[in-house]
Amino acid sequence: MEHELNESLPPVFAKELCNIPEVPDHIFGNVQRTLHRRTMVSRAVWLAAATLVVSVSMIPVMQPKPLEVSSSPEVIDELSSVSTFYNSEEHSSITDADVESVIYQP
């Protein structure tokens, strides 16, 4: 016992100090409800955060990719020769008979 004589309180004061009501019954219920509520809020926040992260990470995947056209040098040559042909005088001098002779050629 560490109490020393010169440290003692007046007995009446000490008695009154010890006069404390009983522990209220409902406190444990309040503690449980608060813990439950905080757990629910915490879960909701985590769920919202996880949904947000997943949604943001899905944006690039969901976006349609622009069509990529790759052309080999041979194709480019062919296309340019077609273009040149259509712009040339040779093209304008072709008659319907020429076309039919090509189409109906056995």
């Binding site: 560490e2 007046p10 009446v12 000490a14 522990v23 406190i27 444990f28 309040n30």
Partner: protein, 173 residues
């Protein structure tokens, strides 16, 4: 004080029954010290006790066993009480338990004496009331109080001695 067994304490985080055991065991001590530290304000003491056990539950995994479990809880009570804003300063102590008083004269005397006690306790700050309650109600050692308040043991002895000296001087009871 004797402590609750380690197994129950270890289970308390996940097991509600174990947590209830922890509550039932320590609640009377926590209530005493919270009630006195909050100067007999019933609502404030309840709020402090509630917040204490919520923090106990949330921090159970952090309890390292370096101190007694009760000391660890008292440290939480101390921090909660000191940081809590007291909404209602007037003590409700007279309204709460007044039933043992008999005739009118005794009632008046008892009320005067209680008012005197209340007046003296009101002159102390929260930390001083906590120290007084810890020492007088829970019989905590100076070493425990030093651990709880993170103060030097020697200065605590001096502080408590001064508090008690002031009480002896001012109490007319």
């Amino acid at each position: 004080m004797t402590e609750l067994d380690d197994i129950t304490i270890a289970r308390a985080k996940k097991d509600n029954k174990a947590f209830k055991k922890v509550y039932d065991y320590y609640a009377p001590y926590v209530w005493k010290i919270a009630f006195r530290t909050m100067h007999g304000n019933h609502d404030a003491a309840q709020e402090a006790m509630q917040e204490t056990f919520i923090r106990v539950h949330n921090s159970l995994l952090k309890f390292s066993g370096q101190s007694a479990f009760s000391t660890w809880i008292y440290r939480i009570v101390f921090n909660v009480c000191l940081t809590m804003q007291t909404k209602q300063k007037k003590s409700l102590i007279h309204e709460e338990y007044n039933d043992e008083i008999g005739n009118a004269k005794n009632q008046n005397d008892a009320m005067d004496m209680r008012e005197d006690v209340e007046r003296i306790l009101a002159s102390l700050d929260k930390e001083e009331r906590f120290l007084l309650a810890g020492r007088e109600l829970l019989d905590l050692s100076y070493a425990e109080l030093a651990h709880i308040t993170q103060k030097n043991e020697g200065s605590l002895r001096t502080q408590l001695s001064r508090i008690k000296e002031d009480i002896r001087r001012n109490f007319k009871g």
